[in-house]
Symmetry: C2
Subunit: 284 residues, 2 copies
Amino acid sequence: MINPTMPTAESLRPRTMRTARPAPGDRCSMADLLQLMGVPVNDHHLAGSIPVVVRRVASGQALYHEGADALSIYFVRTGTIKTSRTAEDGYEQVLGFLGRGEVVGFDALCSGHHPTAAVALEDSTLYALPVQDLFGLGQRLPELDRALHLAVSSQLMRRDDLAELMAPVAAEVRLARFLVQVSRKMAAVGQSPSRFHLRMSRREIARYLGVAHETVSRSFGALAQMGCVHADNREVEILNLERLRAFARSTRRQHDDAPPVGTAASLHLPRVVAGGATTQALHQ
Amino acid sequence: MINPTMPTAESLRPRTMRTARPAPGDRCSMADLLQLMGVPVNDHHLAGSIPVVVRRVASGQALYHEGADALSIYFVRTGTIKTSRTAEDGYEQVLGFLGRGEVVGFDALCSGHHPTAAVALEDSTLYALPVQDLFGLGQRLPELDRALHLAVSSQLMRRDDLAELMAPVAAEVRLARFLVQVSRKMAAVGQSPSRFHLRMSRREIARYLGVAHETVSRSFGALAQMGCVHADNREVEILNLERLRAFARSTRRQHDDAPPVGTAASLHLPRVVAGGATTQALHQ
DNA sequence: CGATCGTTTGACGGTGCTCAATCACCGTGG
DNA sequence: CCACGGTGATTGAGCACCGTCAAACGATCG
C-alpha cells in the first residue's frame, strides 16, 4: 500500500465489511460537513446542533442506481465514488471519479431521479443530505447554501475535465491528462502527487477515457517508455511530472484557422498527430 | 431544463423579433427571471421590485472571455450562447450550446474566473446577476435560491449530454444524437422539433462532437441517405424521428460481460454492423 | 493447485483524420 | 452584369491510429 496519511487507512482491503450502518462513534454534525467543504462557520453552535447522516458504502456496492429516486445528495468523506451511465446494450460510460469533499448526486435534483449510477471503488463514507431538507437547511444555514454553490460550481468545472479527456486527441495524451488530474487531486487532499495507488481498474479508466482497455495498457507502456511514469499494476509513480504535463498539453494538429499564437511553443514531444478510428465495439 | 409541469406556455413563443434594440421598455425585474426559470413566485411584490440587469450581446460577440473575472452569472432570455475552451495551440473545444432558460457562467463561481469562454451565436439577451449579490439575493428570495439549484442541477445533467456525444461511437451516431438533442430542446421552448434552423456552423458542430468538420458533412450525407433527415445548409428537417432515435441509440456490441438479464432480449438493435457501416448502410 | 479475473502483448483491418480540390453563396467594386 | 476575393459546405484519396480478435501472463482466492 502507500501513503497511510489518511485516517481509517486500516480498512482498505475489500473485506466483507459490516453492513451499512451509521457508525456509533462517528461525529456527524453539520459543522463537520462544513469543515470538510472548507467553509468558515459563523454560528458554530447552530451548525454543531444539526445532525447529518453518515452513510457507509462497501467496496463495489452502489450508492444509488441509475434511475433511482433522488432521496439525498452526498458529500464524500472518505473513499472513492465512481459515477457512470450504462447504455441499453450494456456499454458503461464512466463520468467521473469523486474523492474527498466532492458532491455526488446533485444532478438528480432537477428531475427527482438519478440520471447516473454511483458505486464505491473502495469502502467509503459519505454525508447524506435529504433533498427534502436541502432547501430549508440552506435558508437556515447560509454557510451551507454557500458551500453548496461552491461545490456544485466545482462539479461543473469537472465537466471540463471530462471534455478534456474525451477530446479527440491521441490515447496516450488522454492517459497523460488523466494522470495529471489524478496527481492534482492527490495533492489537493494532502497526499503524495507523485506516487499513488489507483482505485480503479484499467477497464474503468478505459471507459472513462473513451478507449479500449487494451489501449490503456499500451498507453501506460508508452508513457513508461518516455520516462514519464512507472506503473506496476495500480501502483503509479510519476517520474517526470513536467514532461508529463507538457505531453498532456499536446493536442492534435489543426489545419483550419491557426491563430499565430506568438512563439512556436512545440519544441519537444514527438507524435502530435492523431488520426484513426474511434468506432465500433469498444472491447470492455 | 424547464419544468414541463409549468404553465406559462403562452409567453414561450418567441414573439418574432422584438429583441431588436436595447430594451428601453423592457421589464427587467426578478419576477421575470423567475418566470423564465419556471419557478412559482410567492411574493410577487418583492420579486417585482428587485431590478435585474439585462445584457445584450450581438451575434459573434463574447459574453465573457476565457479566464476573465467572474462578475456575473447569466440566464439566457433570448438567443443562443456557445461555451468553449481553447487549447494553447488554438484548438477550440465546444462545451455546449445554451438556449432559453439556461444558466451561463456558473462554473466560474468557485474560482472567481471563467474557465470557459461564452460567445453569442446570434443576437441574444441575458439576465445578469452579479456574483456579489448572489448570496444575499438567495437569502432574501428563497425562490431564487431554489431556481438556482434547479438550473445548476440541469446544467450538471448536460454534462451527460456531452459525454453521450463524445462517447466512442461512430461519427454518424454522434451527429444523430446531437440532432435528437437539438430537437428535444426545440420542443422544450415550444418550437417545431422537426424543422429548425441550426444556429451554429458545421465547424462548431464538429468541435462539439469531437470530429473533423469534413466528417460532419459526410455524416449529414449519410443520415440523409438513410432517410432520417433532410439538411440544406443550416436548415434541417427531421423526416423520421423514430428512426433517427433508434440509430442514435446504437452503440457498439459488447460480448464481454453481457448482463444476463432474464429473457434474452429479442430486440435487435439497428446496430451499425462491423465492416463498413458507412458505405453499406443498408439500402437507400 | 486450478479457476477466475485483470493486465499485457501481438496481428490485422477499418474508420476517420489529414491534405486538397471544388462548389455554392456572399458582399464589393469595376 | 460579371469578375474578384472570402467564407462555409461538400467531396475525394491516402494513411495510420486504434478497435477487434486472440492468446499469454500474472494475481488473487477458494
